[in-house]
């Protein structure tokens, strides 16, 4: 099966910053991304869980973006500009994709 090398970027970011990240991704020219819900987690700023929560504060989402290697740098810059002083994680993995014309 014909596959193509690409990058998979996973950004775990606070929910109140989600809109800003999505705008930045679009501006950086990525062709697509997917947002996954997050139930809870733990980090240097403590443990948290979405259970019973009403406020978007104290929640995170995971944004997954699969893209051509040459676009990676632009995306990382855009993501970092949004993350700034905010908590969150950015993790990049090598991957292979089917239907490369879609990226």
């Amino acid at each position: 099966m014909q596959t193509h090398q690409a990058k998979r970027v996973e950004i775990i970011i606070e929910q109140p910053m989600r809109g800003r990240l999505e705008e930045a991704l679009a501006a950086s020219g990525v062709t697509g991304y997917t947002v996954l819900p997050v139930l809870g987690g733990s980090g240097r700023s403590g443990q948290w869980s979405r259970e019973g929560q009403v406020s978007p504060a104290g929640g995170m989402v995971a944004v997954i973006c699969i893209l051509r290697t040459e676009r990676l740098e632009g995306l990382l810059e855009a993501a970092l500009a949004v993350l700034g002083r905010h908590i969150g994680v950015v993790c990049v993995t090598d991957c292979a994709v089917l239907r490369a014309e879609r990226f």
């Binding site: 606070e14 259970e51 019973g52 504060a57 002083r85």
Partner: protein, 325 residues
Amino acid sequence: MDGMLELAGQNLISPIILSFALGLAAAWARSDLTIPEAVAKAMSIYLLFAIGFKGGVAVSAHGIDTRLALALLAGVVLSALLPLVAFALLRAMSRLSVLDAAATAAHYGSISIVTFVAATSVLTSVGIAAEGYMVAVAAAMEAPAILSALWLAARHGGAAGMVPGLWREILFNGSIVLLVGAFLIGWATGEPGLAEIDSFISAPFKGVLCLFLLDMGLVAGRGLRQSGGVLGTGLFVFGVLMPLVGGAAGLAAGFALGLSEGGVALLATLAASASYIAVPAAMRVALPEANPSVYLTLSLGVTFPFNLTLGIPLYIALAGAIAGG
């Protein structure tokens, strides 16, 4: 004061308060009892819609009196100024950084709608009426405190200025839009509108409030457990003192405006209450270095239970003393 004690006692064994206590106890016992996020949100949407709608219907029935504009203005001013008081107290009473103090101050200028709902429900059960437009005042008090807090943070060299897009987010945040929208719908449709949906927004109201408070007890209890260490005595005292300060300011403003007994009590409750939905989200965007467990624990774990149990009966009793028949 007698009446207050009786009211406080009655209040303490109401299903509403006991549901909150059950949530706290369950969290403390590390029970796995939880309310799904979607369900908590549904209950909050229901309560906002119902309280807004009923306020609007009340306005349509009694007309707006000339005090509406003044009450809104008073709410905005209280919301803008109380953070300054809170900030000064926090800097004096605790070792919070400028940023943490500013972020926390924002919560105390703004309001907690569920505290408002609980006060309304106590007023109804003791038969004291209040101006329907107090829900509009509640909405008006959500945002100004945030501006003051950002100004405080910037003034003390704590942070960069306003984040682009934040204003729209604050002004059109879901709870304000729903509360004001439902208020306007209630106003426009009046009693006939209420008749159509009364069995939805009135009959189950208190029961939903019980389950919502159960959820808040669970969340507050887990917050207290997970960040127990975060609050020293100074902060703890602040969490009880500040609502009294805010409540007093609200009482004074309400009395000066000539609001009804119930209206004064509600304005005091609003001023005394601390946000735990809209303001935390705004602070995560604007002051990300401020520690959320400080302001959330304080607002939800200390001030909210205080207001729910002792504060509300106190504000009602005082309102009765100064504005009552």
